[in-house]
């Protein structure tokens, strides 16, 4: 970092995009070096899904009927568990304060951190989901729909989740509070995410659900970073 700062005065001034990419890269790099941070939620996701056949019985027809709900509820819980990593580490070592002091808009920096969080915790869920779909006996043509629904839905979970973390980051025991704050807000994602799978399983068109999910995503991208930035300012005083 220090070697580069001398070049900066001569080079073109930093744009918002540069800073966005820098924050994104830093967060992804940190997560990759502490791999348990993203492997644990992923394993949690898999284990929750595997528990259901054990609890409900192995009847394939029944499993197919509950699969959308099981996968989506497991994804919700896995994301809630992984959210702490968005701001917690940076809060503890003080870099979060530096982020707020930066001349660039906080909401953009927060969006970069959320994007990094999604890359390390939402994307793995999406990649492993076809496997879980097969375990729960979802037909093959539904698996791409499952992945696409997670692609549109999990970023919304990260975006809304960031608000929850930002509000509770200063608390010593914020962990129990987070699901309470966030799960009610996750209801629309759950409804459309499972709805699209139910439609796909019964051979009905899926486009309307996807439009609704895309609408939720664009709304969340627009508003959630602003709310998280405000919440961070409150939490850090």
């Amino acid at each position: 970092m220090t070697s580069r700062t001398s070049d900066l005065s001569e080079a073109a001034p930093l744009t918002v995009l540069d800073v966005f990419v820098a924050v994104l890269r830093r967060d992804v790099l940190i997560a990759c070096r502490r791999s348990s941070e993203f492997v644990n939620p992923l394993m949690f996701f898999v284990i929750i899904v595997v528990l259901f056949p054990l609890a409900l019985g192995s009847d394939p027809v029944q499993l197919r009927a509950v699969a959308p709900g099981v996968i989506w509820v497991a994804a919700l819980l896995a994301v809630v568990l992984s959210l702490e990593t968005i701001f917690r580490g940076d809060f503890e070592d003080g870099s979060l304060e530096q982020l707020l002091l930066s001349p660039f808009p906080t909401s953009v920096l927060v969006l970069a951190k959320i994007a990094a969080h999604w890359l390390v915790s939402g994307l793995p869920l999406l990649i492993i989901s076809p496997l879980l779909g097969i375990l729960l006996n979802l037909p093959a043509h539904v698996l791409p729909v499952l992945m696409f629904s997670l692609l549109l839905g999990t970023p919304v979970l990260s975006l809304l989740g960031a608000i929850g973390v930002a509000l509770t980051v200063g608390l010593r025991r914020g962990g129990v509070l987070m699901p309470l704050l966030l799960l009610p807000l996750y209801v629309p994602v759950l409804i459309f995410g499972t709805g699209v799978l139910h439609s796909a399983v019964s051979g009905m068109p899926v486009a309307a659900h996807f439009y609704a999910m895309a609408a939720l995503l664009s709304l969340a991208i627009g508003l959630a970073p602003l709310a998280s930035a405000a919440a961070l300012r409150v939490s850090l005083g």
Binding site: I191, G195, A231
Partner: protein, 247 residues
């Protein structure tokens, strides 16, 4: 304008003024409750389909309205406290939360009591019921966040942000639940508002709604008064007040 507002919103003035208002508010609340209950339980004729059991709507519908109204009033107060830093607005949001949660719980409870004789079941995953349940969770989340943060200023601002995030989400949640409901099952249940309501039932219903509103205002102000005293306990006017009371 702002000066008048902040003068009125000063804790001393608020405390004195509401102290004089509360007996009158209680009188009006109790009067309207008595009129509404008499009109609803005695004067209004039994429903030709539902018999006497429909009379629970005189409690159920006003509490469901209040469940929504209190949340909106909290959102407005939260916005005011965030933008203009008016302490009383934050106090109003804080004291409203348990009241709103109680109205929501009462709406669910009375709805369930009505559902048993009408639908033959305590609980149906109807769109409206489900979104009211989620509203109850939003209230609980707000109170939990408020309770978790020790610093008063942080608590008030953080919970204000939460309630504003919630208020953006409430319509989204509501419509997504309606969508979910129509997708899963046809509307097999005739809703309460399907038949046009007769005026002999409408008037007591509106009186009850007004009584509930006044109840919210009265109890809210009483709770706000004690909250003001608690927050201002180190200031001179509170010490003087306590001394006067002791005399």
């Amino acid at each position: 304008m702002h000066r008048i507002f902040s003068q009125w919103a000063s804790p001393v003035h608020f405390y004195r003024l509401t102290g004089r208002m509360i007996p009158w508010l209680w009188a009006a609340t109790l009067l309207l409750l008595a009129v509404g209950l008499f009109g609803g339980l005695v004067l209004a004729p039994p429903d030709y389909q539902q018999g006497e059991a429909y009379r629970i709507i005189f409690v159920h519908v006003p509490s469901a309205w209040m469940a929504m109204f209190v949340y909106m009033s909290m959102a407005v107060s939260a916005a005011i406290s965030l933008i203009w830093r008016i302490k009383l607005a934050d106090i109003w949001a804080k004291v409203s939360a348990p009241l709103g949660a109680s109205f929501t719980a009462l709406a669910l409870l009375t709805g369930s009591l009505w559902g048993k004789p009408m639908w033959g079941t305590w609980w149906v995953w109807d769109a409206r019921i489900t979104s009211v349940v989620i509203l109850l969770f939003l209230y609980i989340g707000y109170m939990a966040l408020r309770a978790a943060i020790e610093d008063r200023r942080t608590a008030s601002r953080a919970s204000a942000i939460l309630i504003l995030v919630g208020v953006v989400n409430v319509p989204i949640i509501h419509y997504s639940v309606i969508w979910w409901n129509t997708l899963h099952q046809g509307p097999t249940i005739t809703r309460l508002d399907a038949p046009a309501i007769h005026v002999s039932m409408l008037i007591p219903l509106l009186v009850m709604a007004l009584a509930f509103m006044l109840y919210y205002l009265t109890v809210g102000l009483m709770r706000a008064r004690s909250e003001v005293l608690d927050q201002e306990r180190n200031s001179r006017w509170v010490t003087e007040l306590v001394r006067e009371e002791a005399r």
